[in-house]
Amino acid sequence: MSPGSLKHVIASSHHEKDARGAFRSRYRQLWLYSVCFTAFVSLTPLVIMTFVNFYQYQKTLDEEMRSQISRLTSISRRFMDDFLEEQRAALTYVVKHESYDDLCDQQKLGRIFRDMKESFGGFVDLGIIDSEGNQRSYVGPYDLAGKNYKQQEWFQEVCVRGIYVSDVFLGHRHLPHFVIAVRQHDTASGGFYILRATIDTEVLDSHFASLDLKSSSDAFLINHGGVLQTRPRHHGEVLKQCPIATPPVSSKTEVMEVTTTSGERRILGYAYVEKSPFIFVVLKRPQDTMKNWLLLKSDMLWLLATSIVLIVAVILWSSTSLVNHIRDADSRRDKAIQGVAYTNKMASIGRMAAGVAHEINNPLAIINENAGLLKDLISIEKKPLDTGRLLKIAEAIIKSVERCSTVTHRLLGFAKRMDPATERVELAPLIEEVLGFHEKEAEYRRIAVHFDVPEDPPTIESDLGQLQQVFLNIFSNALAAVDDEGRIDISLEKVDENTVAVTIRDDGSGISERDIEHIFEPFFSTKGDYGTGLGLSITYGIVENLGGRIDVRSKVGEGSAFTVRLPVRRRS
């Protein structure tokens, strides 16, 4: 093997490797596109739905938790209302059924006090104050006889409103108490007097303790100043400032999120207790209420993660098998095309062989005649041969042999270039060679073939053998299209830096508009039984494969022009 051909082999194998790399990267890109697209299409709704569900579950759970707190708060508020109403009703009953004089009687009041304590419980003391604010009678643990309350605030209030409920204070035996006072008109004197009772808050404490609360939650009363009125579990001591700010005034039960003075977040449910200084408060830790939510959230996240993993696995599997299928189909198609291309090549070689046979026949006939003449001269004339005449015979034979060898070389050159390879191709000699194949036919049919070779004929990077086939196909079509004494013009020009164009124009029959759409389709032929219908479709395939383009313009009766545009540099 010569160094030159070795270099050629290395170059061509390198080229093949490049092509295979590009081939593989094309399928990788396809695979990537398929994976990304399917993943996007299938995962996006899943993720969106999961997050929408998240949000909705969260909202639902939040609302449920709020309504739970709200219900609890409302129940307790109603309890407080009922409780205070009961106390008030008890006091009102006393003032309505006992006369002022009886109530001012210490002994009678003592009896009433004992009855009430037995019936209602929680009463610590009971006293009557006249309209001037003087303590008229008193039953209880303090010594309050003769005390005057006229200047005290609660006295003013009960005079105006008819009822008064006090804040909680530490009273007898340091137990928290509060006061309820009611005003009653004295029908005898026309003035009024006040029945005032102190009530133990223990009954409230026990009610709040009985509420079914989590250990971390709390329920208690505060007054409008934010001072704790009952004993909370976790949030300070009775009569100390509550660690949350006093919530805004509202006639309804409210639920909101608050931050304690120590910076902890709490869900607060509260309700202002009517006709009293009390606000009922429920405090819950958000963590407790969110516990279910967190559990659900982690379940959903797991489900989401599992789904994503499964979907991605299925996508990867299906994309891989899809791309593999496409690759298999492509390679099958390529093989089929290669087979068809080979058939076409063989067909064009067959067509050429007929032309070649004809071209070789003439010189052979001349050789035959000259050899025959030589024999005749020797056998018929039987006289010494004239050297000049002999020389003429020899020259005729040599000339004919040269003609034969030109034809055989041309044929060999064509057949040799079956393997695709990229090389520098000089287009002008290539086209001239192609025209050479049909020279005789054109001559006999008196077809004028003009090839305009530009001053600086372009050289391109392409596949010589394939280009030869392209031009041979188009040129033989042109020959078939023109009548005898027709005309075929071939032009070669550089369109721009990167493109050259070869136009083969004939003045033949032209192609109808209906046919022109189909001429590059396989098995489309207007030649009837003579054509395979593959020539132009293969030509089209080859030109595309070489990175070029083929256009056709035609008018029936005026002829056709095929323009092959080729890149100056071949792209892999």
């Binding site: 026949n361 052979l364 001349i366 035959n368 005749d376």
Partner: protein
């Protein structure tokens, strides 16, 4: 009957003249032309007994010549020379009234046989 006068028309100059020379060596009177126009001119001016005509020629080809000759010289025998694989041309020529055809490369003895047959002379009779 004098020596037969043959006109050979073939665009291959070497072929036409060598063939003519060989026929002359065999006692024929022979003219060689390389195109149809010259040949038609010669036919109109001189007498020929047989016309040996190549089918494929630039300008006026053999078949076109045949149609012309049939009108001017309806009795002139024409022997066609065709290339290999041009059976279709030969067939058309025969239909147009050619006496016979021979394929290239040419066997000169066969041509002479045809000439004799066409002129009605006996094969072994001297021309």
């Amino acid at each position: 009957m004098g020596r037969l006068r043959i006109l050979i028309v073939d665009d291959e100059e070497d072929l036409a003249f060598t063939m003519a020379e060989r026929l002359i060596l065999r006692g024929f009177r022979c003219e060689a032309m390389t195109n149809g126009i010259d040949a038609l001119k010669a036919l109109s001016e001189e007498h020929f007994d047989v016309l040996v005509l190549d089918v494929k020629m630039p300008g006026i080809d053999g078949l076109q010549m045949m149609t012309e000759i049939r009108q001017t010289h309806p009795d002139l025998p024409v022997i066609l020379i065709t290339g290999h694989g041009s059976a279709a041309d030969a067939e058309r020529g025969m239909r147009a009234g050619a006496f016979d055809y021979i394929m290239k490369p040419i066997d000169i003895e066969r041509v002479i046989q045809m000439i004799h047959a066409s002129t009605g002379a006996k094969k072994d009779e001297k021309p």
